[in-house]
Amino acid sequence: MTAVMEKADAQPKAGEIPSFDVTIKVRRFNPEGDAAGESHWDEFRITAYGTDRVLDALHKIKWEHDGSLTFRRSCAHGVCGSDAMRINGRNRLACKTLLKDINPQRPITVEPIKGLPVVKDLVVDMEPFFASYREIMPFLITKGNEPTKERIQSAEQRERFDDTTKCILCAACTSSCPVFWTDGQYFGPAAIVNAHRFIFDSRDEGAQQRLEILNDKEGVWRCRTTFNCTEACPRGIEVTKAIQEVKRAMITRAF
C-alpha cells in the first residue's frame, strides 16, 4: 500500500458485500470456577461481513465480548486442522465455513466435536484421536537398502493414494462417526484414511502389518458405511471409499 495511508481497512469486502447481524449460540463448558463441569449455551449477537467465516465470528466474540471463549485455531484457511467443530449440527472447520453460506438469518449453533472429552468450551482432548493414528504405523515401511537417489514411482502409482495424502488430522470424520460415539476404542475413519495412504503407496512394504492391526475387532469391520465421515471431511477426501478399499484389500491380500 502507499507509504502513508489514511486508513488501513479500505478493503473491498466491506464495500462489496454489505454487513449483516447474526446470532451465534455457543456451547460453553468451563472446567474451573463456580459452575465447573456444567455445560450451557451462550448467545452472542455480532455484525459480520460477506467474507466472514465462523472463525471470524468466534474471534469477534472473544476479542470484543468475552475473552474467555476458548477454541483452537491457527492457519485460518483450512490447512492446519485445528478448528473442527459442530456447526449447526454438522462437523466443519470454523475457518472454512462462511457465515453467509449457513443461513445467518437463524441462530448459528457451535459445539465441540463429539466423542472426545471436552476440555473447555470448544476444545476437546485430541490425545485418543492421535493415539489411534499412531497405532496404524503412519509412516513408510521399506526393506533392504535405501536407494542413493529417489525411489521410482509412476504418476499412476502416485495417483493411487493421492486422495488420502490430503488428510490434515482435524478429526471431523472420526467425531462424526456414530460407531466412534458409542465405542471410543474404534480406530475411526481418520486412522484408516492414514493407513490407506500407506497401504496403497507402491513404495511401502508394511501393508501386511497395518492390515493385521485394522483386522482387529476395533478395526475396519466396525464401519457401517453411514458416510458421515465423507460428508464431514473438509479436505474432500472420500473417506468411506478409502475404508471400503482397505476392507477389500484385507480380503484380496489373503489373510
Binding site: M1, G33, T51, E64, M137, I152
Partner: protein
C-alpha cells in the same frame, strides 16, 4: 513448577524443528516443545515447492541455484551459507522422498520439477524447473512426512506447551559481557496450556525453531500463531536480531484476506493483469515477467494500484488470470489454491481472474546463526548450546529477499544441521546449574497479567499495531511513514501495560497467551521499524521511497539490533558511524544497532535486473 532434564530441547515442531528432532533424537535424549500439535504448524500451509537442482527435467546445477539465491537476495546473502544450502538441497529432497514424501512424478517416475520465481538457468538466462513439489500441498506433505517419521522414531513431544523464556548463565540483557567471554544456554521455561503449570526444561543444547512473525501485519499469509516468539525471547535476553527490516510481501494474497495463492500459479502459467487487462509485469521485468522475484512483483502491483490501474470497485487490487489454463491442468497442479478462491471469495478461477494484493509473508531476518546453526550473540561469538533454524533464524541465505521454495529448503538443510550440531555438542557437554528460581520472571509476568484491573482489550491494541504496520511499513516505506509507525508502537506499548485479560482461569487460558503473544509482536514490530528507519537505501524487500537506490558503499552490511539497558554504551558490535549507529530510546531500555559483515565468496554484487 515441574522440572525436566534433556540433552537436547527443540522449541517448535514445524519443518525445521522436526527435521532437527529426527537428527538429534538418534544421538541424544531429545524433547520437542511446541505450542501447537506438530501437524498444525504453519509449514503445512506452504504450497508451491522446495527447490533443488536435481536436473530431473532439464539441465541444472547447484552453482546456478547458489547464484540465483544470492542475486535474489540482492547480494545481502552470506554466500558460503547459500552455497551449502544449494549443494545440500539435493540430498534434502532425496531424504524426504526416502522418508515417504509423495512428490509429483515425471513420466519416468522421478521427482517432477517446476518453475518458480527467480530460479534461472545459467545465471539468469531463462526460468528453470527447479522446484520439487506435491501439487500445491508441498508444505503439508513435508510436515506430515516429518511428523510420521517422528512417530516412527518415537520422538518425545510436549504439545501445546508455550516456551516463554530462555535461560542463559550470563544475562546479556543486563550484564555487560565482554567479547569472547563464554555464555551458555542452560534451559527454557514453558507454560502448559492445558493445565496452566510452569515447566522448566534444563538442557545441554537448545534449538529454537519457532517460525515467523507475520502477525505484526494485518494482511498476512501467516497463521494467527506466528507471533515471533523465538525471536522476541532471544531479543529480550540480550541476543541480537539480524536484518529484521527485511520482510517479504508475497505478491498474490487473496485481496482483502491475505490468504496465499502460491507463486506456483504463475509458475504454471498464470498472468497478473491490471484493470485494463494489461500484463503489466512486461513493463517491470521484461525477461522473466510474472516470474520476477517477489519484492519486484509486489512493488509493481502496489504501483499499479497507486497509479490508478487497480481493479475492483475500490481499484485496490490486481488480477491473477488463470482462465487460459486447462481446467484439468489447474486441478492437477493447483487444486488447493483454486479452492481457496472459490471458498473465500466465491470466484471460479477457471473462468474469472482472481483478485490479489501483496500479503506479509516471510521474515528474512531473525536470530543470527552460523552455518552450523549456532546462535551468535554479536558479530562473531556464539552462545554455547544454543541453536536456531528455520524462519526464526537468519543464516543468512535469503539476504534481503527470499526466493520462493528456498524456505522449505532452508528448514530442511539447516534444521538437519542444527539438530546434528546440538546432539554432537550435548554429547560432550554437561548440564549447567540453573539459577535459584528459573521460572520467577515468567511466573511474575503471568500473575501480573492475570491480576491487572480491568483495562483495555488486547485485541484492540493488536489490531492497531497491525494497521499501522500495514499502512506504514509495507512494500513502500519512507522516513515519515516509519516514524509514524514507531510513534504508534511507543503509544501501543504504553497501552499494553494497562491492557487486561478477561479469562482468569488456569486451564486452557488462550486469552492470557494472546496477551503474552502481543508482547512478542510489539517487540518484533519495534525492531523491524527501527532497522527500516536506519537503512537509508532500497534493497530487496525493503524499499525506501526517499532512498530508492541500493547503496552498497554504505549498507552492504547485515543489521544487528540489540536491546540494551538505558545506561549501557551507545555503540554495539559492528558500529559504523553515520550508518549503523542508530540508538532508539524506549521506556526502560534502548535499541542499539550495529552491523555484521556480509560473507562474499565468488559473486561480486551486480545490479539486479530481470
Amino acid at each position: 513448577m515441574i522440572t525436566h532434564q534433556y540433552d537436547v530441547v527443540i522449541v517448535g515442531a514445524g519443518g525445521a524443528g522436526m527435521r532437527a528432532a529426527l537428527e538429534s533424537s538418534k544421538e541424544a535424549r531429545t524433547a520437542v516443545i511446541s505450542k501447537l500439535y506438530p501437524t498444525r504448524s504453519h509449514t503445512g500451509a506452504a504450497q508451491g515447492g522446495m527447490c533443488a537442482s536435481l536436473a530431473n527435467v532439464e539441465e541444472d546445477n547447484w552453482e546456478w541455484h547458489t547464484f540465483d539465491t544470492i542475486k535474489g537476495g540482492d547480494y545481502l546473502v552470506d554466500q558460503d551459507a547459500a552455497e551449502i544450502m544449494a549443494k545440500e538441497a539435493i540430498d534434502a529432497v532425496f531424504d524426504l522422498e526416502r522418508m515417504g514424501l509423495p512428490f509429483n512424478r515425471t513420466p519416468e517416475g522421478k521427482i517432477d520439477q517446476r518453475r518458480f520465481g527467480g530460479h534461472t538457468r545459467n545465471h539468469g538466462e531463462a526460468a528453470v524447473r527447479r522446484a520439487c513439489y506435491a501439487a500445491d500441498r508441498t508444505g503439508h506433505m513435508i510436515l506430515q512426512t516429518l511428523y510420521q517419521n517422528c512417530v516412527k522414531q518415537d520422538v518425545e513431544f510436549f504439545n501445546e506447551f508455550y516456551v516463554l523464556d530462555l535461560i542463559t548463565d550470563r544475562d546479556l540483557a543486563t550484564e555487560d559481557v565482554e567479547e569472547g567471554a563464554e555464555v551458555n544456554a542452560t534451559g527454557v521455561v514453558a507454560y502448559d496450556l492445558a493445565t496452566g503449570e510452569i515447566h522448566v526444561f534444563q538442557a545441554k543444547a537448545i534449538v529454537f525453531a519457532t517460525g515467523g512473525a507475520g502477525k505484526i501485519f494485518k494482511t498476512t499469509s501467516n497463521a494467527h500463531t506466528l507471533t515471533g516468539d523465538g525471536m522476541a525471547l532471544a531479543y529480550r535476553r540480550g541476543l541480537p536480531l539480524e536484518d529484521m527490516e527485511f520482510f517479504q510481501f508475497h505478491p498474490t494474497g487473496l485481496a482483502g484476506l491475505g490468504i496465499l495463492l502460491s507463486e506456483a500459479a504463475r509458475g504454471e502459467g498464470g498472468i497478473l493483469r491490471n484493470a485494463d487487462g494489461e500484463r503489466f509485469m512486461e513493463r517491470y521485468a521484461p525477461t522473466i515477467k510474472d516470474l520476477a522475484p517477489r519484492d519486484i512483483v509486489a512493488r509493481s502491483m502496489a504501483n499499479e494500484v497507486r497509479e490508478g490501474r487497480g481493479a475492483g470497485p475500490n481499484k485496490d487490487y490486481v488480477l491473477l488470470d488463470l482462465t487460459h489454463l486447462e481446467p484439468a491442468h489447474i486441478d492437477a497442479k493447483l487444486p488447493d489454491i483454486t479452492e481457496f478462491a472459490r471458498t473465500y471469495l466465491g470466484i471460479e478461477p477457471y473462468t474469472e481472474p482472481v483478485p490479489v494484493y501483496p500479503t506479509a509473508h516471510y521474515a528474512m531476518g531473525g536470530v543470527p546463526t552460523n552455518v552450523a546453526g549456532e546462535v551468535l550473540r554479536n558479530g562473531h561469538d556464539v552462545v554455547k548450546g544454543l541453536y536456531a533454524a528455520g524462519e526464526v533464524a537468519c543464516v543468512s541465505v535469503h539476504g534481503s529477499n527470499r526466493l520462493g521454495t528456498n524456505s522449505l529448503l532452508d528448514i530442511n538443510v539447516f534444521g538437519k544441521r542444527s539438530g546434528r550440531s546440538a546432539a554432537a555438542y550435548a554429547k560432550t557437554a554437561s548440564f549447567i546449574d540453573l539459577p535459584e528460581n528459573p521460572a520467577a520472571a515468567v511466573e511474575a509476568q503471568l500473575t501480573e497479567l492475570r491480576e491487572r484491573p480491568d483495562g483495555e482489550r488486547i485485541a484492540d491494541i493488536r489490531r492497531a499495531l497491525q494497521e499501522t504496520m500495514d499502512a506504514n511499513a509495507q512494500v513502500f516505506r519512507t522516513g515519515e511513514s516509519l516514524n509514524q509507525a514507531l510513534s504508534d508502537i511507543r503509544e501501543l506499548r504504553k497501552r499494553y501495560q494497562n491492557a487486561s485479560v478477561q479469562d482468569k482461569g488456569k486451564m486452557f487460558n488462550t486469552d492470557l497467551l494472546e496477551a503474552v503473544e502481543l508482547g512478542f509482536l510489539l517487540d518484533i514490530a519495534e525492531v523491524t521499524v527501527v532497522g527500516a528507519l536506519n537503512r537509508k537505501e532500497s534493497r530487496g524487500g525493503h524499499y525506501r521511497e526517499d532512498y530508492p537506490q541500493r547503496d552498497d558503499a554504505h549498507y552492504m552490511q547485515h543489521t544487528m539490533a540489540y536491546r540494551r539497558p538505558t545506561a549501557a554504551a551507545d555503540e554495539a558490535d559492528g558500529h559504523i558511524a553515520g550508518y549503523f549507529d542508530h540508538v532508539e530510546e524506549f521506556d526502560g531500555y534502548k535499541v542499539v544497532l550495529g552491523s555484521k559483515t556480509v560473507t562474499q565468496t565468488r559473486y561480486e554484487p551486480m545490479e539486479r535486473k530481470y
